[in-house]
Amino acid sequence: MTTAVTAVHTSRADTGPLIEGATGKWEVIVGMEVHAQVLSKAKLFSGASAEFGADPNEHVSFVDAAMPGMLPVINKYCVEQAVKTGLGLKAAINHRSIFDRKNYFYPDLPAGYQISQYKHPVVGEGVVIVDLPGGKSISVGIERLHLEQDAGKSLHDQHPDQSFVDLNRAGVALMEIVSRPDLRSSEEAAAYLKKLRAILRYLGTCDGNMEEGSMRADVNVSVRKPGEPLGTRCEIKNVNSMRFVAQAVDYEARRQIDVIEGGGKINQETRLFDSKKGETRSMRSKEEAHDYRYFPDPDLLPLELEDAWVQRIKGSLPELPDDKKDRFMRDYGLSLYDAGVLISERESADFFEAVAKGRDAKLAANWVINELFGRLNKEDKSIGESPVSAEAMGAIVSLISDGTISGKIAKDVFEIAWSEGGDPAAIVEKRGLKQVTDMGAIEAAVDEVIAANPQKVEQAKAKPTLAGWFVGQVMKATGGKANPQAVNDLVKKKLGV
């Protein structure tokens, strides 16, 4: 729900990628309000479970059902999670904040008001750095973060002329994170959401599960000719994946450009994203002009945070994606790209670090990114579901580093470890995959190949690049186990090239 009270302004000075219209180029301006469900056991103001998935109205207390005389009592952990998130967004923590009632009638809002924070949110201004493909990065301003209650769910398809109301979600704690309109394209919007999600997941304050609705984005889109003031925005509700965010922005920007270029005017309105059609459409139920009549909730006192408590939370913050990325580049010598890929999920970064510990970090990064992530992607598995443990992956890297196996053999070992499991060292041992480092044996194999191909020898002497053919033959003859470098050196020496 739109709650921004401060004047909206963008902190971006540069012009984003432009969209071609009939009357010239257009710039799209995007800001987001992300509702992130606080990872907690119980609800924000009641002791009912916040867990997803239960029979109708089972995770509901009398408070959540707004029975007469019921009163809210705040969950301290939810406040802590909001503060933690604020700190992770490098934002100002407001030591005094106020819970307000936002009044409107809707069947899934039992009290007839949502407890939210209006003029005095718990978290003030912050920033999120978003890395874009191609090495560019942008700063997205965070306007505020406030705590509020989730609403229940209305089911419209169970009965011909009734909607069914389930209050299991009602009262679950949400953090509404409002960005400035600092995003300039669908890619940027999706990248911002991805980065925000990573930060929340690093912090452990939200699981970021968009399918279950733990993270939902309302996307504010407007268009303008570059350099002109901000245009009228539309708020698109219910955008539940990175892909949909990108789709919604692209569709909405194009729609608005078409409307304006067709001589029309954009009305500030709430629109719904239809993920099946990839379209946005006006929301009928929100047509009525709202007047939320915010006022401080008299059932709650101002939320006052002690600085020592905030400092304690600050001291307990985990390393966040940006810091981790810098450290990976600095300590492991990784490229920006590799570091960026590895830190995108905390679990991936942890996995990599376990693999890299005491080993060749760049080699480790290569194997984790190319072999492991490639394979996980292909099989649509998360890092947590990887059949190859970090320990096993590390063992493979060690086997390559100490020359026990070649990179090529290592791929076979990885394949075996992936499909059958087992300790890579034992696999190498058992299957006799160890690299041949006995120079006598390699020399014999080289001699044999040279002796068998006198013509090729002559050709190679004239054209030294053909030495590679001999190396290949030797490798074949040794079942790939010969040390390729040693074979290469020996072949060149014997051929005299």
Partner: protein, 95 residues
């Protein structure tokens, strides 16, 4: 500030109370009488006064994050005028 019939209509709509046409004007009169009376507060200069946010001078108490409630849908829906399978039922809402 004076309230007219249209304002009463709008406010009644916001408050979700059906007011028949013939009650709009009398209600406007009643509200105006009350509003005129409360506007005597304007005699007081409050420009340097903080609004009261809580009568009790204590800090907000907080609970621990423990599940202590729920799992009694039967009680929750027991008083509902209409419902099915522990859902509340309302006239169909169109979005």
């Amino acid at each position: 500030m004076s309230v007219d019939k249209n304002t009463v209509k709008r406010v009644a709509r916001l408050a979700r109370i059906a007011l028949p046409e013939e009650r709009l004007a009398p209600m406007a009169d009643e509200l105006n009488a009350i509003l005129k009376w409360v506007e005597q507060l304007n005699e007081v200069d409050t420009s340097k006064v903080e609004p009261m946010t809580s009568v009790v001078k204590v800090s907000l108490k907080m609970r621990d994050d423990v599940v202590t409630d729920g799992e009694r849908a039967g009680d929750v829906v027991k008083n509902a005028p209409l419902g099915e399978d522990n859902y509340f039922a309302v006239p169909k809402v169109v979005e």
